[in-house]
Amino acid sequence: MSEIQTIELAARAAEEPTGQPTTGRFLFSSWHLVLIPIAVVMVIPLVWMLVTSLQTLDETRHYPPTIVPTSLEFRNYTDVLQQAPFARWFVNTLLVTIACVVGNLLFCSLAGYAFARIRFFGREVVFVLILATLMVPFQVIIIPTFLIVRTFHLIDTLGALILPNLAGAFGIFMLRQFFRTLPVELEEAARIDGASRLGVLFKIVLPLSGPALATLAVITFMWTWNDFLWPLITIYSPNNMTIQLGLATFQGAHQTNTNLLMAANVMSMIPVLLLFFFAQRYFIRGIATTGLKG
C-alpha cells in the first residue's frame, strides 16, 4: 500500500469507531466511567463560559458559581458588538485567512508540483533550503520579518498579516510528498497528448488531490485564524485588528466585565467551531498526517 493510502485509512479510521457495529453492541460499558470524567473536564470550561456569557454582572459575582444558567441576557452579545468593532475584526480576520488559504493552495501547489515532477536546475538545493526553514522556530525570525514588513510600509495594515504567510514551507513539503504518491502515468499520458505542465497540474493532478488540498486549507485556516503573536507585533489600530488581537485588547479593557468578556469570547470562537464541526474529518486528517509522517 502506498504511504498516502495508509494514512488515509488510518485517518479515516480515527474518525470512526473501530470496525465493529456500535448500535446496541454495548448498552453500558465500564469505559463510560472513564470517558465521562474526561469529557466533562474538557467540556466544562466551555460550558461555563457559555453560561457566564448569558448572565448579568451581579450573577457572575455570585458565589458559589452556577453551572446552570440563571438568566438569558442575550443583550450581553449586543453590548459587546456595540463596545468593540467585532464585525470589523471578523471581516479582517476572514479576509486575511482566506487570502492566506488561497495563496497557500495556489503557490504551494505550483511549487510542490514543480519539486515533485519537474526537473529543473537547482531543484534539490532549493528544496533542502525550504525544508531547513521549517526547522527554525518562529521567534528567530520575528524581528527581521517585522523590519522587512516595515520596509514595505505594511505595518498596521492587513498586508502585513497576509504577505509573509502567502506560501509556507509546510504546504510545499506536504503537497510535494503527496504529488509524488500519485501515479505518474496519468500525467505522462496527458503530456503526450499535448497538455502543458500547467494543464496537467490543474486538470489531472489537482482534481486527484482533493483530500490533501482540503487538509492544507483547513490547517492553514486554523493556524491563520488563531495566530496571535504576529498580529500583536504588526497591528495597533483597533480597526485593523484581527479577532484574536481585538479580543485580547477587549480583555484588557473589560477584565471585570466577565459576562461581556465571555460573550465576546463565544462570538470569536463560533467560526472556527463551525468549521471544525463541518470539516472535522479534514482537521483530523491533517493532524493525523502530521503525526504519522512526522
Partner: protein, 300 residues
C-alpha cells in the same frame, strides 16, 4: 540524431523555465520571509539596535551578557520546568485518553468530539476561559476543589502556582492533538499482533505493554519531540494570562525576547536569545531522536 537532440534540448530547457516559473512565487516568498530573516537575525545578534535607529556592531557582547542575565536564567529554568511537566502529561495523557476513545461503544463520537474541541479553540479564547475558571474568588476551579477539601488556590496570581496553572491550561488545550494522532496510530496496529498476544494469554495490560506501546514508539517519539519544541516556544499563554508575572514568576524565553525587542528596544540582544533558544531546541531534538532510535522499534 540532430532533430531528436534538439527536441530533447528544447524540452529540457523549457523544463527549467517551467519549473522555476511554478516554484518561484513560493520560493520567493520563503526567501524573503524565511531565509533572509534567518540570516538577518543571526547578524542582529551581534549588534545592538532599538529597531528605530541604525544598528551598531557589538561583537559577542550580547552572548557574553547572557549567562549573567538573571532574567534569562530564570526564563530558561521556567521553560525547563514547564517542558518537563507539559510533555509527559500531554503525551501520556493523550495516549491513555486515545486508548479509552478507541472503544466501539455508543456515543464514542461525542466523547471524541469533546476531547478534540479544545484544540481548535484559540489561545486567547482559552486564556480568557481559564482566567475565569481559575479566578481565585469566583472561579469554578476553587469551588470544585473546595468541595473535595482542597484550596483555595491563587492560580495565576500566585508566584509559586502561576507556572503550574499554565501547565494545566495548556495540557487541556493541546491534549486533543496527541489524542488524534494516537487514535490514528492505534487504528494502524495490525489485529493479527493483538490476537497473537491474546492467544499467548496476555491480558489487557500485557497487550498494552508488549504490543501497543512498542508499536506506538515512532508516534510517541514524534509527539514528544513536537510537544517539546512547542513547549520551549511558549509565548501566547504567558503574555495573555500572566504577562510574565507575578513579578517574573512566569518569564519564559520567547516572552522575554518579545519584551526586549518590542517594548524595551533591545533587539540585538533579543535576537541572541532567539538563537540560543533555537540551539537548545536543536540539541534537545537531536538528543530525543538519538535516544528514540535506540528505544523505538519500527513496525515491520
Amino acid at each position: 540524431m540532430a532533430i531528436g537532440g534538439a527536441n530533447v534540448r528544447r524540452v529540457m530547457t523549457s523544463d527549467h523555465v517551467v519549473g522555476w516559473a511554478f516554484a518561484s512565487p513560493a520560493v520567493l516568498l520563503i526567501i524573503v520571509f524565511g531565509l533572509i530573516p534567518i540570516v538577518w537575525s543571526a547578524l542582529l545578534s551581534f549588534q545592538k539596535t532599538n529597531l528605530l535607529s541604525p544598528p551598531q556592531w557589538v561583537g559577542l557582547a550580547n552572548y557574553r551578557a547572557l549567562p549573567k542575565d538573571p532574567y534569562f536564567s530564570q526564563s530558561m529554568v521556567h521553560s525547563a520546568i514547564y517542558t518537563v511537566l507539559f510533555v509527559p502529561l500531554s503525551v501520556a495523557g493523550g495516549l491513555l485518553t486515545a486508548i479509552a476513545l478507541n472503544r466501539p461503544i455508543r456515543g464514542i463520537r461525542v466523547y471524541r468530539t469533546a476531547v478534540f474541541v479544545p484544540v481548535v479553540v484559540s489561545t486567547i479564547a482559552t486564556v480568557i476561559i481559564f482566567l475565569w475558571v481559575f479566578d481565585p474568588n469566583f472561579g469554578l476551579a476553587n469551588w470544585l476543589l473546595g468541595k473535595v477539601g482542597l484550596g483555595p488556590f491563587a492560580f495565576f496570581t500566585s508566584s509559586n502556582g502561576a507556572l503550574y496553572s499554565i501547565v494545566a491550561m495548556t495540557v487541556w488545550g493541546w491534549i486533543g492533538f496527541n489524542v488524534i494522532v494516537y487514535l490514528a496510530a492505534l487504528q494502524g496496529i495490525p489485529r493479527e499482533l493483538v490476537e497473537a498476544a491474546e492467544i499467548d494469554g496476555a491480558g489487557n495490560w500485557g497487550i498494552f505493554r508488549n504490543v501497543t506501546v512498542p508499536l506506538l514508539g515512532p508516534v510517541t517519539l514524534f509527539l514528544v519531540v513536537w510537544s517539546s519544541i512547542n513547549a520551549l516556544q511558549l509565548f501566547d499563554e504567558v503574555y495573555l494570562a500572566t504577562n510574565g508575572g507575578p513579578g517574573t514568576a512566569t518569564y519564559v524565553p520567547v516572552f522575554y525576547l518579545y519584551k526586549l525587542a518590542f517594548q524595551q528596544g533591545i533587539a540585538g540582544y533579543a535576537a541572541a536569545i532567539a538563537y540560543v533558544l533555537f540551539a537548545v531546541i536543536l540539541v534537545l531534538t537531536v538528543a530525543q531522536l538519538l535516544v528514540g532510535k535506540r528505544m523505538v522499534h519500527y513496525a515491520p
